[in-house]
Amino acid sequence: MPHTHSLTQKLEELKKLAEASGIDVSDELTLLESKVKAASKTEMAWRRVELARHPDRPYALDYITRIFDNFIELHGDRYFGDDAAIVGGLGFLNGQPVTIIANQKGRSLKENMKRNHGMANPEGYRKALRLAKQAEKFHRPIITFVDTSGAYPGLGAEERGIGEAIARNLLEFSQLKTPIISVIIGEGGSGGALGISVGDKIYMLENAVYSVISPEGCASILLRDSSRAKDAAAMLRITSNDLLDFKIINGIIKEPEGGAHTDPDATAMNIKKVLVRDLQDLCDRPPAVLVRYRNQKIRKIGHWNEGED
């Protein structure tokens, strides 16, 4: 962060100068300091957004193949088609059968045509629900990986009820009698992300972001200036640290220095460790207790003042 770094240096020089000259500039200095702090916060948040969207960042399948043994992909929602923007299937986690559901972005232009840049249509969410119900039936834990800028805002998505599909998943996932662990691995984009991330434990990779709206969207609506996405990213508090502070997530999974793409193997191992540890604990709980805790946790979220009647 060269920009704020040089500012911080200048600030230090100014302080020394003020001390030496005996002129009181403390008010100005405090103001400057808070401005520098805000600027560095903005840069930090934006760096996270850039890493979360980095073209080399590992996508769900990069982790799935590293974490699970014998992964078998299952296709289709049984109503309309197969949405490649969400992948799902079965595999073993240290010998334990699990169901895996994940947003999948494409690496090449051709793959992105197929995967719609990881933006799912209703059939993606309905496939996810089918596989989740199947997991519940066979008492298999569910692991979901979230990485999408959002559900697809297209004509067909609306015609086939993207709103209904996400809503249904929110309701059904809250009631599934099997453990669910969700990991935000890149972009956690709004309802499209939430649609596969209601669960017992929610984690974020260190450089993942999770937000109600994209920084660009927020900038154009709230700040009325679409070029101020960086400011919006900081304002919205979307980093893993923010979400841990807010107690929305259970923990942050470390990434290698420089981001997950610099060492996908190490990142996958970090994820795997957390999954194995948590699953042991979650599988010990009776399903009814699991569901009760999950819903108690969800229903507590929010900040309000009760007021007087």
């Binding site: 609306e158 709103g163 209904e164 937000s211 109600v212 709230l222 229903r299």
Partner: protein, 264 residues
């Protein structure tokens, strides 16, 4: 909606009194103007039966967003409401219900912590007091000023719908213009019977966002109530004049056969 404003649908000019008398619809073509919660409650609830609960819940500023408190004060003054939804109990044609009515005037009916909490409480109250729950929706979606907390209200209200469903108490939604975003993608689409007002815009993504994605103009009527019924997402389109009796009928039609036998 002053006297000199022609109806946006048919162009006929009517005076305010006759539009009000027609429950804020155009007496010529039936166009539905937007309606605020107080007016809806006055028409739906049996006279004097409405008792509000959780009336004084107020939003905090969970992500310390600059200017949010001021925005809330402005909204409060403009909508003359404390938040974007009113919740209460009342009777409709003598039948006890829990009723929640949203306001588009209050920050575009956006769902933050308070809307999520009040809607959830209404659903849970229905389960606990065994009263059917009726929610009138109108919303631009999640309230981004509350960041991730607003997104999580989608999960929260959906969890509350599941709770109501487990108690086998019916849940009816009336979708009003406009209902979009996070409200559509949560409690609005999860009712046992989904009713919509004629012409209401109902969708997940807003029309402008979709036009921006597909880079073409949307066809006429896209995402309107009639379109949503055609696509299979709305059970009944009911005019404002019909809604009260329709809801009353639906309540009766959801009584289990055992209760009918016992009650006879």
């Amino acid at each position: 909606m002053s006297t000199d404003t022609p109806c946006p649908s048919c162009g006929t000019v009517h005076d305010t009194a006759s539009i009000e008398a027609a429950l804020k619809t155009c007496p010529s073509c039936g166009y539905h103007y937007r309606m605020e919660p107080a007016e809806r409650i006055a028409y739906l609830a049996d006279q004097g039966s409405f008792t509000e609960f959780s009336a004084n819940l107020r939003s905090l500023n969970p992500i310390d967003l600059e200017g949010y408190e001021e925005k809330l004060s402005e909204a409060e003054a403009k909508a003359r409401m404390k938040e974007a939804v009113i919740t209460g109990t009342c009777t409709i044609e003598g039948k006890p219900v829990v009723l929640a009515v949203m306001s588009f005037n209050f920050m575009g009916g956006s769902m933050g912590s308070v809307v999520g909490e009040k809607v959830s409480r209404a659903l849970i109250k229905g389960a606990e007091e065994r009263k059917p729950v009726i929610i009138y929706t109108t919303s631009g979606g999640a309230r981004m000023q509350e960041g991730i907390f607003s997104l999580m209200q989608m999960a929260k209200t959906s969890s509350a719908v599941a709770e109501l469903a487990k108690s086998e108490i019916p849940y009816f939604v009336v979708l009003c213009d406009p209902t979009t975003g996070g409200v559509t993608a949560s409690f609005a689409m999860l009712a046992d019977v989904i009713i919509a007002e004629p012409g209401a815009l109902i969708g997940f993504a807003g029309p402008r966002v979709i036009e921006g994605t597909i880079r073409q103009k949307l066809p006429d009527g896209f995402q309107r109530a009639e379109f949503q019924q055609d696509k299979g997402f709305v059970d009944i389109i009911a005019s404002r004049q019909e809604q009260r009796h329709l809801l009353s009928l639906l309540i009766d039609l959801h009584k289990p056969y055992r209760a009918c036998k016992e009650g006879a």
